[in-house]
C-alpha cells in the first residue's frame, strides 16, 4: 500500500480521455457478473465465488482492532476539485502536543492503524503482519486455525518474512519505537524511534523476543529476504524505504536532499544478517540501482505522463517491492516509475540488467516471477490501495497487472490482467499482492485486490491472461469507503491464505471449474514447502506421480494439443499402473514398458508441437518415465 497523496494524483485527469487511449486488451466488465451488487457488511457481507471455497475465517484478535470501530475508520469520499467542504463548527485544537479532545471524528483518515498486512508461512504456521504488530496461527487443521501468538509492536506496514527461528518485520512510521511501545515518539530526534527492519527470535513462538532492529534512513515499507546459495551462514534483507528521510542527527549518514551525492534517496538497503548472531545484522550496501551511465543517481523515470491520454507515472527514487529468485540469480524490482530487472548473483551488489516504463502504470508496486523465471508479473497500485479503482468506468489496463517475458535478460511487455468484475465506490480496489499456484504445465497466480476480492488467473499465454476463479465480498460499509479487503492472497501447501485488512485471516481451497480440473488442483497440492515468503521465490518441482501426468493430460485435451488416441492410451496406462502395488507383481513389467513406450511416442509428438503444449508433452513423457522408474 502506498500513502496519502499518491492515491489522489491523476484522479483529475478525466477518465473519458483515458479510456479511449487504452488498448482493448480485456473485454469490458460483464454487467451480469455475480460479484456485482453484493450486500455490504463487516461479518455478514454478501459473497460471490467461483472455484474457491472459504474454509475458515478468523477475525482480527483483540488488541488488533479499535473496539469502537471494529471495521476501521471511513475514508472521506473523493470530491470534485473546486468543491469546498463546509467549515464545521470547529472544536479548537488544543495546544502543545495535546490531542484534540471530544468524541472521535465521524470520518477519519482511513484507519490503517490496525490494518492487517502481509503473510509469511512456516511448517504448520501462518504469520499475519499488521500495522500494529503480528499474529501467528496454527493451521495444521485449516478448517480450525488456532491463534497461538499475538505480538504488539506498532510502526507499519508490518510486512513479515520468516527464516528458521527468525522473523523479520518492516517498520516505516515515525511512531515506531525501538522497544515496541504503543506510545509513539514525541521528540523530533530521538534514539527511541525505530524505522527499519526488526528481527525477532521466534524459537518460543508464543513469546517472540526482539533480537535486532536495523535502523534505516527511510524506514522499511517492505523488505525481501535473499538467501545466498553459495553461503548459508548469512541471509540478506533488501529493505525498500519509500517515505521521508529522517534527519542525520537521528541516524548518522541520512541525507534527504535529492541532489546530494550521499542522498538517502535512489537506493535500497542491503542488510546482512549472520544466522548464528542476528544481533550483528547491519547495512552492508546501499546500491545505486537507478543510476545512469553519466553518474546521475536518479537516472530512470523522471515522473510525468507518457503522452496524451496516458497515465502519470511516479518518479523513480525508490523501490516499493523487490521479488528475488536466487536460484536463477534474478530480482524484479517494482520501483515507483519503473519495473527493473536485477542480477543478484552477488546478493550484496545487485546490478541492473533492464528497466522498463509502462504508459498505463501509475506506481510500480510488486513483482512475481513465473516458476521457471522466464516471466515477471508487475502490479500497478494506481490510487495507492485506498481508492476505488475497479469501477466500471476505470480502464481495464490501469491499476492492473502487466505481464512481461524475460528475453535475453530483458523485459518484454506482453499483456495486462485486471480482476474483471466492476466494484463499487465503497470498495478500495487495485492490483495487489499474490503468488503462484503450482499447477504443473501452466502459469497460474492467485492475487488479492483489496475489496475487489481474490482473483485466480492463468497467464500461460503472456498475451492473454484470463480469470479462472474468484472470491468476493460486498463492501465493508454500504455508503462509506472503509479501507479493507485483501492485502495479500498466497498459496501455501494446498490452500490459499488471504490477509484481509479489516476482516482478518481467510483460508480457501480450490475447487474444479471448466478452467481447472481436480487433477490439476491435486498436482498443485503435491508441492510442499517448509517455508514461504512470497517475495523470495524458489524453484518448484513436481513428483513423477500419476496425478501430475493426468494434470498435463487434462491440459493437452483442453487445448487439443494431443491426439485423442494417444490421450486414451496414456489414460489407460496410468489406470493400470495405479492398480499395481509393486513393480514385481505379475504383468507389472508390461505395464511399465508401456509407460516408457508412450513416453517415447510423446517425445516424438512434442517435436511437431510448439509453445506450452510442447512443454507439456515433454513434461508428460518425463513424468511417465519417472513413474515407471519408481516402480522398477
Amino acid at each position: 500500500m502506498k500513502s496519502a497523496v499518491q492515491r489522489l494524483v491523476v484522479v483529475s485527469l478525466g477518465v473519458g480521455a483515458l479510456v479511449a487511449a487504452v488498448a482493448a486488451q480485456q473485454p469490458a466488465f460483464d454487467p451480469k457478473d455475480p460479484r456485482i451488487g453484493l450486500k455490504a457488511g463487516l461479518r455478514d457481507a454478501g459473497v460471490a465465488s467461483k472455484g474457491l471455497e472459504l474454509v475458515a475465517s478468523m477475525g482480527r484478535p483483540e488488541g488488533f482492532y479499535d473496539p469502537k470501530q471494529p471495521a476501521g475508520e471511513p475514508m472521506p469520499p473523493e470530491r470534485q476539485g473546486n468543491q469546498t467542504p463546509e467549515a464545521p463548527a470547529a472544536a479548537a485544537p488544543q495546544a502543545g502536543g495535546q490531542r484534540p479532545g471530544g468524541a472521535p471524528p465521524a470520518g477519519g483518515g482511513g484507519g490503517l492503524n490496525f490494518a492487517n498486512s502481509d503473510l509469511a508461512f512456516q511448517g504448520n504456521r501462518v504469520i499475519i503482519g499488521n500495522f500494529h504488530g503480528f499474529n501467528t496461527y496454527d493451521i495444521e487443521n485449516t478448517r480450525r486455525p488456532r491463534l497461538i501468538a499475538s505480538v504488539v509492536c506498532p510502526g507499519g506496514q508490518g510486512d513479515v518474512s520468516i527464516y528458521g527461528n527468525l522473523l523479520f518485520m518492516s517498520v516505516e512510521q515515525t511512531r515506531g519505537r525501538v522497544d515496541c511501545g504503543v506510545e509513539g515518539v514525541a521528540d523530533a530526534v530521538s534514539r527511541e524511534r525505530f524505522r527499519g527492519v526488526r528481527i525477532f527470535d521466534i524459537t518460543d513462538v508464543a513469546r517472540p523476543r526482539q533480537v535486532a532492529a536495523v535502523q534505516t534512513c527511510r524506514g522499511s515499507h517492505t523488505h525481501t529476504l535473499v538467501t545466498n546459495p553459495a553461503d548459508r551462514t548469512k541471509i540478506y534483507v533488501y529493505g525498500s524505504g519509500t517515505s521521508t528521510v529522517r534527519p542525520g542527527e537521528e541516524l548518522e549518514g541520512c541525507v534527504g536532499k535529492p541532489d546530494d551525492p550521499n542522498t538517502s534517496l535512489f537506493s535500497i538497503d542491503v542488510i546482512e544478517v549472520p544466522i548464528a548472531a542476528p544481533e550483528r545484522a547491519r547495512i552492508v550496501n546501499t546500491p545505486r540501482i537507478f543510476a545512469d551511465d553519466k553518474g546521475n543517481l536518479g537516472g530512470l523515470w523522471q515522473g510525468g505522463n507518457h503522452g496524451e491520454g496516458t497515465q502519470t507515472s511516479r518518479m523513480t527514487n525508490q523501490c516499493h517491492d523487490i521479488t528475488v529468485f536466487p536460484a536463477v540469480g534474478l530480482a524484479a524490482g517494482a520501483c515507483s516509475g519503473n519495473g527493473i530487472l536485477l542480477d543478484i548473483s552477488d546478493p550484496v551488489h545487485p546490478k541492473r540488467l533492464d528497466a522498463v516504463v509502462d504508459k498505463s502504470f501509475a506506481y510500480w508496486h510488486s513483482a512475481t516471477f513465473n516458476h521457471d523465471g522466464t516471466k515477471v508479473i508487475f502490479t500497478d497500485e494506481w490510487g495507492g490501495g485506498t481508492r476505488p479503482r475497479c469501477r466500471a468506468e476505470d480502464p481495464t489496463t490501469w491499476g492492473a497487472n502487466a505481464v512481461f517475458d524475460i528475453v535475453d535478460r530483458k523485459l518484454v511487455f506482453r499483456g495486462y490482467y485486471k480482476m474483471p468484475a466492476a466494484q463499487t465506490e465503497q470498495e478500495n480496489c487495485v492490483a495487489h499482492n499474490g503468488s503462484l499456484i503450482p499447477v504443473p504445465g501452466r502459469d497460474i497466480m492467485v492475487q488479492g485486490w483489496y475489496q475487489g476480492g481474490v482473483s485466480v488467473f492463468d497467464f500461460t499465454d503472456s498475451t492473454r491472461p484470463f480469470e479462472i476463479a474468484y472470491f468476493d465480498r460486498g463492501p465493508l460499509d454500504p455508503t462509506q469507503l472503509i479501507t479493507g479487503g485483501y492485502w495479500s492472497a498466497y498459496w501455501y501447501n494446498g490452500h490459499i491464505y488471504g490477509s484481509e485488512i479489516a476482516r482478518g485471516l481467510d483460508i480457501f481451497r480450490l475447487t474444479p471449474t471448466e478452467h481447472l480440473t481436480q487433477h490439476e488442483i491435486d498436482a498443485a497440492m503435491l508441492v510442499r514447502a517448509e517455508e514461504v515468503n512470497a517475495q523470495e521465490q524458489k524453484p518448484v518441482t513436481w513428483p513423477a506421480a500419476s496425478v501430475v501426468a493426468r494434470a498435463y493430460l487434462d491440459q493437452l485435451n483442453r487445448t487439443k494439443g494431443i491426439q485423442p488416441a494417444r490421450a486414451q492410451a496414456v489414460n489407460a496406462a496410468l489406470t493400470r499402473v495405479d492398480e499395481l502395488r509393486t513393480g514385481r507383481e505379475a504383468g507389472a513389467g508390461a505395464v511399465l514398458d508401456q509407460l516408457d513406450a508412450l513416453a517415447g511416442q510423446l517425445d516424438t509428438d512434442a517435436q511437431a508441437s510448439s509453445g506450452a503444449d510442447q512443454k507439456r508433452l515433454r513434461a508428460l513423457a518425463e513424468t511417465l518415465r519417472g513413474r515407471a522408474a519408481r516402480l522398477r
Partner: protein, 237 residues
C-alpha cells in the same frame, strides 16, 4: 474472552434459528440454508481462550504481557495541534502554486514548462482536496484557499509576496520561465521546510495519515525542485 465481531455473527445465526420455529417454513428454509452455507467458516471459531498479547522489548530485552486495552491505546499517537496547523497552512501554500501555474498558461512559450505546470497543478489540487477532507473529517476549521490575499495575512514559508506575484505576472517568454522556476523552487522549498518543521515539532507527525501525507509532500516537492533546477540550468542562467 470476547471476540467482538465474531460473537455478534454467531448471535445472528442463533436468532435466525429461533425465529425460524415461529415463522413460515420458507423462512425456516432460508435460515437453515444460511446455516448450511457457512458451517465450515463458523466452525473456525476458536474454542480455547486466545493467547495473551505479548509486547517485545528493545533488542536483547525480555518480552512482557500487555492488556488489550493498553495494547490498543493510541491516545499518544493521534494528531496534534501542529498537525492541524500544518494542514491548514499548506492549503494556502498549495493554492498559490496553482495561481502561479495559471500565470504560466498565458506567459510561456515552452511545452516543457506547460507540462511542468500541469503536473504541479494536478498534484497540488489533489493534495488540497486531501487536506480539506482530513480537516473536515476531524472537525477542524478549513481555511479559505485564498486567505493569503488578505492584507496582513501571514505567508507560509516560501510563499510569494504580492510584489513577487506581480513581477511574475509582468514577465513573458524565457524571462518568465526563468523567474517562474526560481520562484517555484523557492515556493517548494518552503513546503519541504514545513514538513521538516512538522517532524521537528514535539509529538507531531505520529498519526499514520499525517505521516504518510507529509512524507509524500516531502518526496514529491523535493523531486520537483530537482527537476526544476535542471530546467533552470538548461535555460542558461
Amino acid at each position: 474472552m470476547s471476540r467482538g465481531p465474531r460473537s455478534q455473527s454467531r448471535c445472528i445465526l442463533v436468532v435466525l434459528i429461533l425465529r425460524g420455529k415461529h415463522v413460515t417454513s420458507r423462512r425456516l428454509a432460508v435460515a437453515v440454508a444460511a446455516l448450511l452455507a457457512l458451517p465450515a467458516v463458523q466452525a473456525a471459531a476458536q474454542e480455547e481462550p486466545p493467547p495473551p498479547i505479548i509486547k517485545p522489548g528493545a533488542p536483547g530485552q525480555p518480552s512482557t504481557v500487555i492488556e488489550a486495552a493498553k495494547a490498543t491505546d493510541l491516545s499518544k499517537v493521534g494528531y496534534t495541534r501542529a498537525d492541524v496547523e500544518f494542514m491548514q497552512g499548506m492549503i494556502g501554500h498549495h493554492a498559490q502554486a496553482i495561481e502561479m501555474v495559471d500565470l504560466l498558461k498565458t506567459r510561456t512559450a515552452s511545452d516543457d514548462m506547460r507540462k511542468l505546470g500541469q503536473r504541479i497543478e494536478i498534484s497540488q489540487r489533489d493534495e488540497i482536496r486531501m487536506m480539506k477532507e482530513w480537516l473536515t473529517a476531524r472537525g477542524q476549521a478549513v481555511p479559505d484557499e485564498h486567505a493569503h490575499h488578505m492584507p496582513g495575512a501571514t505567508l507560509m514559508p516560501g510563499m510569494l509576496t504580492a510584489d513577487e506575484m506581480a513581477k511574475l505576472g509582468a514577465a513573458k517568454g524565457v524571462a518568465f520561465d526563468r523567474l517562474f522556476l526560481e520562484l517555484m523552487i523557492k515556493h517548494h522549498m518552503g513546503a519541504v521546510a514545513m514538513v521538516q518543521q512538522l517532524f521537528a515539532t514535539e509529538g507531531a507527525g505520529q498519526d499514520g495519515e499525517i505521516f504518510a501525507f507529509a512524507s509524500d509532500v516531502d518526496a514529491d516537492q523535493a523531486m520537483e525542485i530537482r527537476r526544476m533546477a535542471i530546467m533552470l540550468k538548461e535555460l542558461g542562467r
